[in-house]
Symmetry: C2
Subunit: 319 residues, 2 copies
């Protein structure tokens, strides 16, 4: 069985070179000479076994998704990913797990040209905390507090896959095993939106990523921007796989509205900039869907097939 | 019971202002405009219940120490602490715990003028991961790879309290309850060495903090600097409280040599700079003790009362 330092060397070293990195793994701190003309965007997220992922999750998927959820926060600011740290708590030094976990992690890190500059490993119930860092030109970050009345609300990609996977994983819904495998993979190997997000800054000042559920996350924008919105739930885009799922139209929409863990971009755009937005999206081959509008009136009005949607709903919170 | 967002607002908000912080808590990322003439030092450490601290640990102590172990890494590079993020996993939203934990945390953060710029809370077994950030003038960081043959090895403060507390906590040693309380407090409310460490850079190029045990940590310096050392174990400085502890001289020394969790600075200084070092230490009222010398020969020779110390030893590792 590998010791702590051997484990780090075997599975996590050699990925710590990059622009501005003066000192990588192996000292008390990493040292960075940050970009002079950029702001540094910093985010951190934790995944705990049994809470954020099912016990026995495929370690490749887990490595990928642990980084993806953090990269998604960088994307939502329009930041270019640069580096990350990893704090890994493991019940034991399982080499097979570590090999697959690190393969999944670096498959995404390498694609995003992110260096792993430090971290720690310790013993305990499986838990992964990553802090991720990116650069964004000064004053150009997309922020939650910059939505304006009249802005059109858009979402990238499709919604509901995160919610569908969790529902099926808890056996609240029965999916054929081959269908479940596809849902599982799609819910874990989520494409990152970093490249599209950086282009999006040309037409967008306000964005976030859908992690707690579309409606709950939209509420964060409304509160921070001191505005309201009309949201057309029936416009929420669903993956074509939903055609094979035995749920009513409303149930599908509810997964897209409240399910969370989709890691798509929710953003607002001034109507004058829509044609440019559409060109950018086409150029990056990213599907975008208008789903509502920001209003001066501070309420959030949810519509389903042009009628008010009134069911109680609450964004995901841990406590 | 407080929800996740209310919990963050109640106990962890309002500490996110500081020099260079463009955007604090509440968005997907924090945004920083880093110091132009400095390097950014980054470190991250995790404390897990039952591994890094005993179940039922005083939450004030825990808040303090979670940050201290990270600040200690900044100190060992000679960096000025600037800000941190907190990832907190809790079994439930216990307000009494959170009040005391955050009091302990901010008692140290405020003293060090550190802003809390972001983080997350989630449900699960109690675990705390902090990433801490500091600034150090370009090229001036103290590093593990810069020890030179002939350098004198020093340690700040006293050693062994971390090891003594763990031994007593596991009932491998019986301490009277009032004595145990003092040991407990001293092992948790460890003074930070950040101010002394920044002054130390005038005379020192190589330092780290004693977290895994003096001998194990010295080995990190030797490996990275490609040198050896002679270490006089009987010179390791002990707190006066050890006079009241029923252990042999050798047993006490072994706690100081292999116990870990002391978070003092272990550093090497060119003999020509000793008189300046002594002035700096006196000026900062920090006790320093010469405990050995760096050698060209790459072995680590441990001496106890001028004789080789031969007992098998291994630095603390999690696996």
């Amino acid at each position: 069985m590998l010791g702590e330092f051997a484990l780090i060397k075997e599975f996590f070293s050699g990925h710590d070179k990059g622009r501005g990195i003066t000192l990588g793994i192996g000292d008390d701190c990493a040292l960075l000479a940050p970009d002079r003309n950029s702001e540094l965007a910093i985010t951190t997220d934790t995944l705990n076994e049994g809470i954020h992922f099912f016990k026995g999750e495929d370690p490749f998927y887990l490595g990928y998704k642990s980084l993806l959820v953090n990269i998604s926060d960088l994307a939502s600011m329009g930041a270019r990913p640069a580096f990350f740290t990893l704090s890994l708590t493991l019940p034991d030094s399982d080499e097979l797990f570590l090999r697959e976990f690190s393969r999944g992690l670096f498959s995404l890190a390498d694609k995003e040209k992110m260096a792993l500059i430090g971290g720690n490993t310790s013993k305990g119930p499986l838990s992964i905390t990553i802090s991720a860092y990116g650069y964004v030109a000064k004053g150009c970050a997309m922020r939650r507090d910059l939505a304006k009345p009249g802005d059109i609300i858009y979402v990238s990609g499709n919604l509901g896959m995160g919610g569908l996977f969790v529902k099926a994983g808890y056996h609240e819904l029965n999916l054929a095993s081959d269908l479940f495998s596809i849902v599982h993979k799609k819910a874990q190997l989520i494409p990152s939106r970093t490249v599209f997000a950086r282009a999006l800054r040309r037409v967008c000042r306000c964005a976030l990523d859908v992690s707690d559920g579309t409606v709950g996350d939209l509420r964060h924008i409304l509160e921070r921007s001191n505005v309201g919105a009309v949201l057309n739930l029936d416009k929420l885009p669903l993956d074509e796989i939903f055609d094979q799922v035995n749920l009513t139209a409303l149930e599908k929409v509810e997964l897209a509205a409240f399910g969370g863990c989709d890691y798509e971009l929710l953003f607002t755009v001034n109507p004058k900039k829509i044609s440019l937005l559409e060109k950018i999206a086409a150029c990056h081959r990213v599907k975008i869907t208008p789903i509502g509008v920001i209003t001066k009136d501070k309420n959030l009005n949810l519509l389903f097939e042009n009628k008010p949607y009134v069911k109680a709903n609450r964004p995901f919170e841990h406590f």
